[in-house]
């Protein structure tokens, strides 16, 4: 399977939590799609406006959600974002991390919408 066909999330853990129940999964996906963009927004604006505390808080809240949705390559990423924000290190490296997070999340949003909303 070509790399681009592979989804950037994995629902195994979510299913572990809510059971293999299509309605419950759809419900959680919807919730994910309606709450995470705001958190991502807070992370971005926190960074650009120098509000480290808001940034750290949003990252903290997003962390378990990413774990549950098995979002690829974000396990260490979100933790380092949270830690850097906590230390108020709003530097270029953090900017790069956030950019990386944005990119991955954008893909995940698209993939999830495709799989769960337009069927």
């Amino acid at each position: 399977m070509p790399e681009s066909d592979k989804n950037h999330y994995c629902l195994d853990k979510l299913i572990g939590f809510v059971g293999n129940d299509p309605d419950a999964i759809k419900n959680m996906v919807n919730l994910f799609l309606s709450t995470t963009p705001d958190l991502l927004q807070s992370i971005n604006s926190g960074f650009h406006e120098g509000k480290a505390e808001n940034l750290a808080k949003a990252a903290h809240t997003l962390k378990p959600t990413l774990d549950v949705f098995g979002v690829e390559d974000t396990y260490d990423l979100i933790r380092s974002i949270e830690q850097k924000a906590k230390r108020s290190e709003l530097d270029a490296e953090l900017g790069k991390h956030i950019e990386q997070l944005n990119t991955t999340m954008e893909l995940v949003f698209q993939e999830l919408k495709l799989a769960y909303l337009e069927t």
Partner: protein
Amino acid sequence: MDAFRIFIVEDDVFYGEMLRHHLALNPDNEVHLYKTGEECLKNLYRSPAMVSLDYSLPDMSGLDVMRQIKKEHPEIPVIIVSGQEDISTAVTLLREGAYDYFVKDDDVKDRLWNVLKKIRENVQLRSEISYLKEEIGRKYEFRNVIKGNSPSIKQIFGLIEKSIKTNISVSITGETGTGKELVAKAIHYNSKRAKKPFVAINVSAVPRDLIESEMFGHEKGAFTGAITRKIGKFEQASGGTIFLDEIAEMDLNMQAKLLRVIQERELTRVGGNELIKIDARLIVATNRNLADEVQKGNFREDLYYRLLGLPIELPPLRYRGNDIILLAKYFVDEFCKENKMKKLSITESAQQKLMGYHFPGNVRELRAIIELAAVLTDLDQIDESHISFNSADAAGNLLMEESSLEEYTRKIIRYYLQKYNNNVLLVAKKLEIGKSTIYRMIKEKQI
């Protein structure tokens, strides 16, 4: 069984909803989701069977919410789910009565499930008739060894249970004879390290200049008298537990060395230079107040914080209420069993006498008092006249009965025969009297 009502208090909408779904998978669960601490407190009248509480809530801290819950409903188990791994917060929460503490991480699901299962079992058991209640205690090994039923000792059981699950260092304090060593062993033998050695070292019992080699070992020729290599206690405890008893008695110089070893997790034997990795869980105990010793400059502050870990403060026996009687009965039964004597009971007045005493030597003293009483009585019960509160008195009591020397002799022989399972030869040897003397007394039914 009625619906099992669970409160989830969680401001993260996603996580809260997920927990709700998860817990609702079991149709017996009735799950309520609240976003603030206040909402949760307002609904406590519904008497939930358990509360799962996020540590950082928008309106108040998880700790404050828990305190409120505990104030009004101390019986409701509160589980803290937090986004942060922070051992000192965890310790505080557990000490304040949290049933469990976990981090929103990989295994929340399983742990939550297990905790629920345990709480359910407890709820079920609690509602069963009284003899079954004892079963709850029997379920856990350490509860069979450490006897007690008072609230203060139950709190200790809770802490022991916590310490069993992790490798956290444990510091045990309490007056002499309160059971510090017993607790240390209970932790080790119920932990994952149980199959590896439990190695104890009593700091005050080892001469100062030998303590380092005792703890860390030495190489051949390290000092005069070191004729072979010696493996120290820390190395012996590898994979298991090292118990440093009377830690407050360690001198400052040795404290510095110990601190380094704990920090580096490595040691060198005395006279050697090889670095040896250590993997021993640390439990320390003292009957002094270590914080005071730090104040007085007798104990290093940095070491104190290193060793503190999960602090367990054993209450003096005099504050354990009815446990005094419970323990007394236990010691009598044990003593009779060991010595193949028939069962003895403890009269009401003897019990009252015990309850009125302050036991400066705590459980150890109680045990000695009871064993002496069991020896002194000629009846099938222990009454107040057999209970005496210091051993000098006891001898006095024996003499006060004003028997003839012959009668004393008979008493003593009778006691020894009981103690040694009617082995006449052994008793004769112990008392340095002829075996024919004993046989004669038996024959003449004097014994």
